[in-house]
C-alpha cells in the first residue's frame, strides 16, 4: 500500500475494532450513530472529496481500502454510499451521511424503471439519483415514504421506488455519472473483498481447531479442497479489482476492466459464502456466530452497483459487437498512458 492507503486502512481498522470487537456492542442501537460521527471526525467519509472541499482528495484505489476494511469487519452502515457522497456537493453529502437522504445506484446501460439505493439512517426523506442525461449529468431527489423502505439481505436499510416518480428537485452536476457508477461498483467490490478475506479466515480457523473423528476438520481433503477453491476465487477477484482500480484512477476507458472486477467479485462471494457456511456447520448458520454478518453482506453487495449477471451480459454484448475480434477487444482497448 502507499502511505495514504496505509493511513486510511489504519484509521478505519482502529475505529472499527474499538466499536465491533465486543459482540454485544455490535447489536447496540447507538452503534450506527456513533460510527457515523466517528468516520466524519476521522475524515474518512470525505476521503474522495477534493482537498479544496475539505476532503482528502484520495484516489479511488486509496479510498477503496476504507471499503475493504469496512467489509473485513462487516460493519454496519452503507460505506459505499457514504464514500461516494464525498464526490457530491456539500449539502447533499451531509444529508447522505446524516441518513436523511438515500443514495441510488447509478445505472449504466439499459436501466430499469426502479430506483434503488442504500441509506445510513432508518427513515430517509428522499432518494438522490445521479444520472447521465443527453444535456449533461443530473442529480435528482425523489420523495421517499415509509412504504418505500426495505431491508437488504444484510439488514441494511434500502429504498426502492417503483414506477416513475417525479423528482422534487433536480440540478446539473459536474461529476461524470458514468465514473460515479463505476466508482460505486469498485468500492462495493472492495468491501466484498474485505468480507471475503475475513470469512475465509474464520472458516480456516474453525477448520484448524474444530475436531471430529479424532482430527481437525482441516485434515480432511474435502475441507482442504473447498477452502482452496474459495480462496482461489477470492484471489482472482482481488487481481481483477486491483487492475480495475488502477484503470479507474488513470482514466483508462475500457469497461471490461471494471465489469470483470464486479462480476468476479460476485462469483467469488457466492463461492466464499457457501464454503464458509459449509465448513462452519450448523453453528455458522445461527446468529450466535458472527459469520452471517459477512455472508449476508456478501449476498447483498453482489447485487449492488452492478449485478453480476448484468455486468457479464454487458461485457458479452460489447465483446460480440467489437469488429476487431475478441483478442484485440481484450488487450487493445487500453490506452497507452505515460
Amino acid at each position: 500500500m502507499n502511505e495514504t492507503a496505509r493511513l486510511l486502512d489504519d484509521s478505519t481498522d482502529r475505529l472499527l475494532r474499538d466499536h465491533l470487537s465486543d459482540p454485544l456492542r455490535r447489536r447496540s442501537p447507538g452503534l450506527r450513530a456513533a460510527l457515523l460521527a466517528e468516520i466524519a471526525e476521522a475524515g474518512l467519509s470525505l476521503a474522495l472529496a477534493p482537498a479544496e472541499d475539505g476532503g482528502l482528495g484520495a484516489t479511488l484505489s486509496e479510498a477503496a481500502v476504507i471499503a475493504w476494511r469496512w467489509g473485513f469487519h462487516a460493519a454496519p452502515l452503507p460505506i459505499v454510499e457514504i464514500l461516494l457522497a464525498g464526490l457530491l456537493p456539500a449539502q447533499v453529502r451531509e444529508r447522505i451521511c446524516d441518513g436523511d437522504l438515500a443514495l441510488a445506484e447509478t445505472r449504466i446501460g439499459p436501466s430499469s424503471a426502479r430506483l434503488a439505493g442504500a441509506c445510513a439512517g432508518h427513515a430517509p426523506a428522499g432518494l438522490l439519483a445521479v444520472a447521465a442525461a443527453p444535456s449533461g449529468n443530473t442529480m435528482s431527489e425523489y420523495p421517499v415514504s415509509a412504504g418505500d423502505i426495505r431491508h437488504a439481505l444484510s439488514g441494511e436499510v434500502q429504498v426502492l421506488l417503483t414506477g416513475s416518480p417525479d423528482p422534487v428537485s433536480a440540478a446539473g452536476v459536474a461529476l461524470d455519472a458514468h465514473r460515479f457508477a463505476v466508482a460505486g461498483a469498485l468500492l462495493t467490490a472492495a468491501a466484498m473483498s474485505g468480507a471475503m478475506g475475513r470469512a475465509l479466515e474464520i472458516a480456516s480457523e474453525h477448520a484448524n481447531t474444530r475436531a471430529q473423528f479424532g482430527k481437525p476438520l482441516a485434515k480432511f481433503q474435502a475441507i482442504q479442497h473447498m477452502l482452496a477453491e474459495a480462496a482461489s476465487e477470492h484471489l482472482l477477484a482481488q487481481a481483477a479489482l486491483a487492475r480495475a482500480l488502477s484503470d479507474f484512477d488513470e482514466a483508462a476507458p475500457h469497461a471490461l476492466s471494471w465489469r470483470a472486477a464486479k462480476a468476479q467479485a460476485g462469483h467469488a462471494a457466492t463461492k466464499v459464502a457457501a464454503v464458509a457456511h459449509q465448513v462452519l456447520g450448523a453453528i455458522g448458520f445461527t446468529d450466535e456466530h458472527d459469520l452471517h454478518f459477512y455472508t449476508t453482506r456478501l449476498w447483498s453487495w453482489r447485487d449492488e452497483w452492478g449485478r453480476q449477471a448484468v455486468c457479464e451480459a454487458q461485457a458479452g454484448r460489447d465483446a460480440t459487437a467489437d469488429p476487431r475480434g475478441l483478442w484485440q477487444h481484450m488487450v487493445d482497448s487500453e490506452e497507452m498512458i505515460r
Binding site: A237, L245, E312, A321, I337
Partner: protein
C-alpha cells in the same frame, strides 16, 4: 494466516501503468498473419504443444525466443513483460509452439540457473536459435502425482552416468534433442526426497528408445522413453547432485505460471464471439460475457504473477491458483460453445467445427498435465495453513 494469498489491498495506491507495447504486439501479429497465410498456423487446430521446427526457427529469427536471456547465450535481454506480451499474442493465435516452448519456458532457464558453463554454452544458443527441443522427464509409469517415488536411476561411471529406467507422458520426446530427467543418483532411504538429481540427457545416444503414445484425438505428442544404459556426460548434471527434489520444484514453478494455462481454448471463445457478432442473442451474450470477464480476471492474475516473479517475490501459491482456475476455464469454454452452437464438432468439419472438436478432445488433459487439479488444490490448502 488468511493473508497467504493476497493481492489487494496490499497493492492499493501503487498502480502500475500498463504499457500496451503496441509496436511489439504489431510485430507479432504481422508474423502470425504471414504464417496463417503460408498455412503453418491453422487457427484452432494447433496449440503450444504442436511441434514445428521451421516455425520455431522463424520465431527465433524474429527475436521471439529466449527473449529475456543474456546475449552471450543468444538471448535478447528484453524484459519479462515484453516476453509475456509475445507469449500471449502467440498463444491467443494458437500458434504451433511445441518445438521451442518447453525449452524456452523452463528447460533453458533451469540450465541457466543450475547448469555447468560447458552445458550452457552447448545448449542455450541452440535453444535461442529455435533449433533445440527439450522434453520434461518427470513422470514414470508408476509415478505420476507421486513424483518423489520415481525409480529411474543414474549409475555413476567414468566421465558421467548411465541411465536406467523409463519416463512417460513425455511431450514431443520423438523430436527432442534433450530431456531433463529427474532420477535417483542415490538409493532411496528414509527421506523420500533425498538422493534425487536432474540430468540433461541427450536423446540421440544409443540406449534411448522412444515409443509413441497416441492420444484420444489421434495425435502423437506423448511418448514413453526407455533408458537402457545410455551415457550422460558429467557436465550435464544440474545442481550439485542429490538436490533434484528442490530443482524439480523450481522447474515446475517455471512451468505453472504462464498464460499457456488459460489460453489453450481461446480460439473457440474467439470463434463464439465472432459467430454471435451482430446478433441479439441475449443468452449468448450472457454466457460469452461470463467467460470473457473470467478470462480477463485470469489474465490480470497472470500479469500479477509475472510481475512478482520479475521482482523476485515468491509467487508459487498464486501460480497454483492460476493453473487450477485457468485450466478449469479452458475446459469450460468448449462446453459453453457446444451448448450455444448448432454444430457437430468434427476434426474434418469446417474451421469452427474442427476448432470445437480439437478443444473438446484435448480438454481432459488440461487439468492433468503439469500437476493434476487435485494436487494443486492440496498445495493451495497448504499455503492457506490447512495441512
Amino acid at each position: 494466516m488468511g493473508a497467504a494469498l493476497e493481492l489487494f489491498p496490499q497493492s492499493a495506491g501503487m498502480s502500475v501503468t500498463r504499457d500496451r507495447h503496441a509496436a511489439l504486439r504489431a510485430a507479432v501479429r504481422t508474423f502470425v498473419d504471414e504464417e496463417i497465410a503460408a498455412g503453418t498456423i491453422v487457427p484452432g487446430r494447433q496449440s503450444w504443444t504442436t511441434w514445428d521446427r521451421g516455425f520455431s526457427e522463424r520465431c527465433a529469427d524474429r527475436g521471439f525466443v529466449a527473449m529475456t536471456w543474456p546475449r552471450e547465450y543468444g538471448g535478447h535481454e528484453r524484459t519479462a513483460e515484453e516476453r509475456y506480451v509475445v507469449s500471449e499474442e502467440l498463444l491467443a493465435a494458437g500458434a504451433p509452439l511445441g518445438s521451442h516452448w518447453i525449452a524456452d519456458r523452463q528447460s533453458g532457464p533451469q540450465i541457466m540457473r543450475h547448469g555447468t558453463d560447458r552445458l550452457k554454452r552447448e545448449v542455450l544458443p541452440r535453444i535461442a536459435a529455435g533449433r533445440c527441443t527439450f522434453g520434461i522427464g518427470m513422470s514414470e509409469p508408476d509415478s505420476g502425482s507421486d513424483l518423489s517415488s520415481i525409480r529411474t536411476r543414474a549409475e555413476r561411471v567414468d566421465g558421467g552416468y548411465r541411465l536406467h529406467g523409463r519416463k512417460v507422458w513425455t511431450t514431443n520426446a520423438q523430436h527432442a534433442e534433450y530431456l531433463i530427467v529427474l532420477c535417483r543418483t542415490e538409493p532411496r532411504g528414509d527421506d523420500r526426497y533425498a538422493g534425487l538429481s536432474q540430468l540433461v540427457v541427450p536423446m540421440g545416444e544409443s540406449g534411448v528408445s522412444v515409443r509413441p503414445l497416441i492420444n484420444l484425438a489421434g495425435e502423437h505428442e506423448l511418448n514413453e522413453v526407455t533408458f537402457d544404459g545410455n551415457f550422460v556426460p558429467a557436465s550435464n548434471l544440474l545442481g550439485q547432485g542429490g538436490d533434484g527434489w528442490r530443482l524439480v520444484g523450481e522447474e515446475l514453478a517455471f512451468e505453472r505460471s504462464g498464460p499457456d494455462r488459460f489460453l489453450s481454448t481461446f480460439g473457440i471463445l474467439a470463434a463464439l464471439t465472432r459467430i454471435f457478432h451482430g446478433t441479439d442473442n441475449t443468452h449468448a451474450h450472457a454466457e460469452i460475457g461470463r467467460l470473457v470477464t473470467r478470462l480477463t480476471a485470469l489474465r490480470e492474475l497472470s500479469l500479477a504473477i509475472a510481475d512478482r516473479i520479475a521482482r523476485g517475490v515468491p509467487a508459487n501459491g498464486f501460480a497454483m491458483v492460476m493453473k487450477d482456475l485457468g485450466t478449469a476455464l479452458e475446459q469450460e469454454i468448449p462446453d459453453v460453445a457446444r451448448k450455444l452452437l448448432d454444430m457437430r464438432p468434427s476434426a474434418d468439419g469446417d474451421a469452427d467445427a474442427a476448432t470445437l472438436a480439437t478443444a473438446i478432445l484435448n480438454a481432459p488433459c488440461f487439468s492433468l498435465r503439469g500437476g493434476t487439479r487435485e494436487v494443486l488444490k492440496g498445495i493451495i490448502a497448504r499455503e492457506l495453513g490447512l495441512r
